[in-house]
Subunit: 335 residues, 2 copies
């Protein structure tokens, strides 16, 4: 593991994107956000995934020169075709448009079809927070999770973010609908560890914390079992139907690596009905009370949602972003 | 267990409400929805909870003659004070208002503070579906769930519903943030059964499926562990801050039975950008594909979210609603 300063990481990703005929502003956006994902500790969706993005560009799945085009608009809701453009650029455009609409209407919804992986859901939550708005965003994915009681994957792990701005640190969740990602299970397997909670099913159909069993069965458990399965289906319906795009079922029929996903962006300009000083006092009080919880073990830190990412960002800004040396060499060798 | 026809159940609840100086239309609404909750199989939030509602009315926690009053309005977002009125009446009003606003703006948000238990989250999802709209609604609760790594309850199990209309059966989830309710654990304990998934923590702080252990520790596990804990906090922030009401922290400070909760209602008039025939074809295809999943055991039925409630409604309309005889006698004795 080596440590790369944020700006150096960003510059290296930017160099490769420019070599793929990315415009300067798009290369800037994508390199900034992918380096930031690693900076905030979401390593799986930052620098570690960059080579896959470049491969997807080279395969033609991601089209660096595409822009979203409007399909329909009505009041505060709009849907767009992402034209298979860069996932981060498309998603930032959509959230930007949602923020604009919410300035007039108080709330807005932008649905986006035929787009690509947005990398980290929280990115668009933070984007809204920086504009003083709350947000809810979701994306669907390729089929990668069986529904409750089934063995074959016909749901997506459809990430969901909810974000609420706060001067002392935004409160934000970013959660996939599986309890653990395959990446997390593979890391535990390498380290010879069991998962802390049930990760999926073993070959006999029993819930199991053994990453080896779950990776073999291809049956990761939805977060909250039947609850996460149901939520996954609803998020998929919201994103896929409102964008007139693909639901998970449709994404599964497309050949090649995951592409053509559907996303949803809701921005809430809540300060127009709940003045910032009053609403923030309510939130600060609740955060303080939560942080005063009695920990299970002495010395264990209780955190609010978003606190770990903020702390990680501070540390990685100071020390540099930890990157696997092979991954870094692979990126440097991309020409 | 006896079986009571839907109309007879509704009439009996209505009689009691009228004896508590409820207006005829409010008595009609509350008796209809509580009987319907039992009809749809949500027994814990239907007839079984009616005596508690009457007690709350008698204690003055629920004020049968109160109406919501507007606090602020901006475009498609509004917040109201529920003035401690009947939870179902207030929530139906709020969703009705959200539907009205979404007709103009495409999407809307109504936040409601100082209201009472809405009984079943799905009620307001169905209300939107009947108007051809999708919905997201949430309520906060008294503190009843510790956050991840903590032992004392400082989060609520804040129910969440997402609903999407469909001619062949609305697709809808209604989920509390705990994996199991205390009611479900008590029922399993009586039946001498273990829970199917981890229900909470035992006295040693380990995840456990034993309802006895979890009831004793008062540490139910959030759905998806840390994920449900985070989601609970965000839903609480949305409902409490946008309504300028109480977050879970504040509800915990009010004396007496749970009251003065905060709720949020979002309606999406998505058909204005995603015509019904096109969006419904996308959803029907995904539902059909999901239902064709390979079940874990031969003969096991795979369902879409909302299917069980619809099936239960059909059965209970035919056979009558199953009600515990003592509960029914208690209601009949209320004068």
């Amino acid at each position: 593991m080596i440590r790369i300063p944020f700006e150096a990481a960003k510059d290296e990703l930017r160099r490769v994107l420019l070599s793929r005929d990315c415009s300067a502003d798009k290369a800037d956006t994508v390199s900034h956000e992918m380096a930031r994902n690693s900076l905030d500790g979401t390593y799986s969706h930052g620098i570690n995934r960059f080579s896959r993005l470049v491969r997807n560009i080279d395969e033609g799945i991601v089209q660096v020169d595409a822009h979203p085009s409007l399909i329909h608009a009505f009041g505060a809701i709009e849907n767009y075709d992402g034209n298979l453009g860069l996932g981060i650029v498309n998603a930032q455009f959509a959230m930007g448009r949602a923020i604009e609409l919410a300035r007039t209407h108080g709330i807005s919804l932008v649905a986006l079809r035929n787009t690509n992986h947005w990398l980290r859901a929280a990115t668009y939550g933070y984007q809204a927070c920086e504009a003083g708005m709350a947000a809810l965003c979701t994306s669907n994915t390729m089929p990668n999770m069986p529904t409750w009681g089934a063995v074959d994957a016909r749901l997506g792990n459809n990430p969901l973010t909810l974000a609420f701005p706060r001067a002392k640190g935004h409160v934000i969740v970013d959660l996939a609908m599986t309890q653990y990602s395959y990446g997390a299970m593979e890391a535990a397997l390498l380290a010879g560890k069991q998962m802390q909670a049930d990760a999926g099913f073993d070959r006999h159909g029993a819930l199991s914390r053994d990453p080896k069993e779950v990776i073999a069965s291809r049956r990761p458990v939805p977060m909250g079992c039947w609850k996460g399965a149901g939520l996954s289906m609803l998020l998929d319906a919201f994103a896929g139907c409102m964008s007139l795009g693909s639901m998970v079922a449709g994404i599964g029929r497309l050949p090649g690596d995951e592409h053509g996903v559907s996303q949803l962006f809701i921005a809430v300009n809540y300060r127009m009905i709940a003045p910032a000083d009053q609403s923030e006092a309510i939130l600060d009080d609740a955060v303080d009370w939560l942080l005063a919880s009695q920990p299970q073990e002495e010395g264990r830190q209780i955190v609010y949602p978003g606190q770990r990412a903020a702390a990680c960002q501070g540390e990685n800004l100071r020390l540099g972003i930890p990157v696997d040396e092979r991954i870094w060499q692979e990126i440097k060798s991309l020409a």
